[in-house]
Symmetry: D2
Subunit: 351 residues, 4 copies
């Protein structure tokens, strides 16, 4: 949050103004001193109406091509449907923009590879995929401790993404296009595991799952609770758990175990520092959604992206190096696909 000696803030345009897009837009507009939100686009009139009120300084477009045509833009922030990410990243690179794109890069490994290949032609431009968990202050602290050797050599990560049950089952309707629980949820845990373990390649996976509550998922071959094991080159391991059916809230936690100690992040998903003492016992209320849990992570992520772009422009060093690269995103999709394959076949899948 250090304001730096500089010519002008980074000019960013946001594409996509849904719930998460709005958060990114407001962070860039009001909470990242080194950036300014100069434009936004959405095909939806509601979104644009919101933006006219909340982002009075931004030029508004209905069309992504218009946004890219804006010469005053240094970078774009993509918060669009996942199926558009790959092509929109390529288009932005071709238009000379730095790119921040929400996860996932793509549900299709080949498409991920195509973006990676294309991006090689634009080495001067920053591309970061939004695995925001890396920027949560607690994950950052754990990562720094691992780097500093606090737990010896890390060899096992356990990580989970567990959502409060939605009785409406929004994700059931979303199942045919979400890629399934491993590509939609566990992909975050995959990225966390690789990040904490030093970015090893996966060599073999096994996954399983069950439908606890949402029978509607069966048609799409999906489950509401999934478990998985991932072996990495060099002998490291990961265990993953994803759930859509928690009763207590969003319970996102990770653990990294090393030869000299272990670190747990988010063991108890308490909403805040309040403990309630009553006839139920002693309790903490829980973070209801990932949106609440990672509010600060999204902001730190935005700072880090801006810092990474500036660093690339030779304008000072930042923490940009910690964001997920296209290669990281490709590997996350590759592993997620293998988990889905393993669950479908009941067999371990060798990568």
């Amino acid at each position: 949050m250090q304001a730096t000696d500089r010519a002008r803030p980074l000019r960013v345009g946001v594409a996509g103004l849904g719930r998460l897009g709005r958060r990114h837009a407001k962070n860039l507009a009001y909470r990242v001193p080194d950036a300014t939100l100069v434009a936004a686009c959405s095909p939806l009139e509601d979104d644009l109406a919101w933006a006219r009120d909340a982002l009075p300084a931004a030029r508004l477009h209905m069309d992504y091509a218009q946004l890219l045509a804006d010469d005053a833009l240094d970078a774009v922030c993509l918060v669009t449907p996942s199926s558009l990410h790959a092509q929109q990243i390529i288009d932005a690179l071709r238009a000379g923009k730095h790119v921040f794109c929400e996860k996932p890069l793509s549900l299709d490994v080949a498409e991920c590879e195509r973006v990676v290949a294309e991006s090689r032609r634009y080495e001067g431009q920053q591309v970061t995929i939004g695995f925001m968990r890396r920027f949560d202050p607690s994950y950052q602290d754990a990562f720094a401790k691992v780097q500093a050797g606090a737990i010896g050599r890390p060899f096992l990560v356990r990580s989970q993404t567990s959502d409060l049950n939605d009785p409406e089952g929004f994700f059931v309707r979303f199942a045919p296009t979400s890629g399934g629980i491993f590509l939609d949820c566990t992909v975050h845990d995959i990225d966390v595991a690789r990040w904490l373990l030093g970015k090893p390649r996966a060599t073999r996976v096994f996954a399983s799952g069950t439908i606890a509550l949402h029978e509607g998922l069966r048609a799409a071959g999906d489950v509401d609770n999934g478990v998985a094991i991932c072996e990495f080159e060099g002998g490291a391991l990961a265990m993953f758990y994803a759930s859509r059916t928690m009763a207590h809230g969003n319970d996102t936690s990770s653990e990294v175990i090393g030869t000299a100690g272990a670190l747990a992040i988010g063991h108890i998903p308490s909403a805040n520092r309040v403990e309630i003492y009553d006839a139920h016992g002693v309790r903490s209320e829980c973070t209801p959604t990932f949106f609440d849990r990672f509010e600060e992570a999204f902001l730190v992520e935005a700072h880090a992206f801006v810092a990474a772009v500036r660093e690339r422009m030779g304008e000072g060093a930042g923490m940009g190096g910690q964001g997920a690269t296209l290669e990281d995103a490709l590997e996350a999709t590759r592993i997620g696909q293998a988990l889905r394959e393993s669950m479908r076949t009941g067999q371990a899948v060798v990568l």
Copy 2:
């Protein structure tokens, strides 16, 4: 729990077979290898009926004098009404018995002093007052750490005795004879504070209180929530809190603060190692009563008393030294009385 090479176990008789008396009796009968329960007395037929079933090996008496007349007894364990303690201790000493007596020694300072004076004539006999908190494994661990210098010089104790609210208000009916909240509850915290701080003498106290729920206490000059500060010679301090009106359970906790660290004992009064995740959040159920909270303490206390007697008989060293002496009990009553006086007058009381 080490069984030792010995002629015979210590022969103990229990006086009083109420809820706590029964626990002491069963501990001595079945869970302290170095002791054997040879006799018990109670004026109540119900108690004796219970004893005939639960303590088949014990001789039963209706009368304390009969119990003392039993030559086969080495020691007595007094779990009788508080108002009888002082004289019963003296009678037991005169009968040549070692004595374990439940707290309080007496609500009357002069009577405490009389017992202390009388006991000087029976130096060869052990007298321990049942401040069981000293024998709870967590309190023991904290005490050992303080002794080992883990927190530097201890200078402040905060300690509380908080009971689950009893809507029936049993203690309201008991108020005229209980001595009030400070002599009934805080006396444990006073003893803990002195024990952890190296047994200093109190020099000045201030206390206050309020009636949160039980208006019936007003007639007895008592409160259902009391707070106090105690200054000790040498500059150490204590803060006390006692409550009869907790919604979540028995919440007994203490904290000792030193120049190089602090120790908290029983911060969260969880009943066990189970955490419940549901719509209320993440929670632990709480220990319902002191009886549940200190189950193990009562047993360790019995072991320690037996060990103290054996040590005194020259039969090996034990942890007997950690029990509260008559002098400790006198000091606890003296401070408790001063707290009551301070609350009544609204003035600090100098001791």
Copy 3:
């Protein structure tokens, strides 16, 4: 953080650019969309140099009078030495500005009363004293729960301000002018207690203290650990603890106990959501300073002040009502002074 439909953001000037002043300035400049930092003043060249870099949009002054003379200013934020607060507030009111002022209002009760009296002439202008703890999200949640009746009638607050020991003893040098531990630290706890208990008036207090480590305080009649009890009209109570000598970090916590439950805020002062498992056991690192602990509170406080001013201007309802008023600040100083008096005399002090 909702940007609202409005003519223009509130124009604020900051007076004082020390560590806390800089935080306020940056919050207002970059993180409060409804406000804009248009000016800042400090008599120190270093501060102004910092501001030229970090706050390029602000007009800089060496003198508070110059700042007040700036017609483009709607409000001032005072982060100046405590002894200047009272007169600077009056000057700002006379200049037609809304005022946010860091605590304490004044260490002198008469001076507090003078400001309260003077402020009555400027009813249209907002004056908020910076008891930031009220704006910490966990304190906010607890307050809302109390208001909603979650714990029945609140009748007891326990609250503490405990700082990591500073072996350099900065506060020792500051002791002659700090007002002592109760006016410097406990004043926050006093405000929290009154806020959570429904703003009752104090009727009697008792305080004591000890010097655990910093003998240098003795000359100023101050201590490095202080304890206190406060009685309020209507029977509510508070217990306070303040320490300068903690080994583990800044440990600021409060607890409010009601007839149907209790709430603890900040029970464990963990720095974040990381738990470390190693040869020391399982542990959380702690928040090192109040500055880290209350980072978010300072920001929410700034939002709330801006909202309060807008509400007063008829520009929509906000959470402004939750800030401490001049009357609250007067009462905090009155109680703090009584605590100091009680510790000095060893007697309870009736207010």
Copy 4:
């Protein structure tokens, strides 16, 4: 612990007087009122010397056959090497004794089946295998809550057995005969999972492992950290983790997740109720070994075994039904073997 109206206590003989055998012997001798320890056997003179001192009332034998020949024995407690369990159980049944036997029944599935088959001929005799975790008070509480429907339908168990690293690597020397980490450690978690999930049969497993510290295990095909997934009929799942290399202590925990909530048992392996505040932060020390962690479970288990025998004798109902049967032990070995097979082949194993 209720002493009951009865002719005489159950007469038990213990076979094996190693560390765990001694604990069982002392529990039966001194802490289970309904039982009496009448005999013990060990081939080791040291053990017998210990017994002469600690168990003065027991007849001592060097030979298991002698123990079984003792007509005054109602039951035997086998704490002998695992490879002897199967035959010793059969011999005891043939001698008309009830049997408590430490886990595992056998590392060989066929041998387990042989014992199960043979035991069918002795329906009147109790046989319990010592999966003591079922008797830990916290596991008992969780089980009762699951039974009462507190978490809806349980569908996933996560369970781990993690031991403090032993730099001496005792278990490395033990590896050739221990059956490997899954049969030695995870077998407890397998039993817990089946018990909490309603005793389903496993249908498919996958396991993996790594050597973090103890290269000496490689020769035996073993690992010091193992992970596994187990699918059960009906769709329930389990995830297991076993480690020999923890830095903080014995960390045995389990979690059962249902459609309406979840229960965690032993989330934080704190040794007691003490929290330490110092320069390391706020911490709990951890239970060093399973022996410490499950001290109470071993005692409750002994009570339950005695109650189960009495129940079988028509002497009143007990909690005997909660002990692991031979069939449970067979299933645990069957699953454990499949995990070992899966880790060796890298393939999922269908049962």
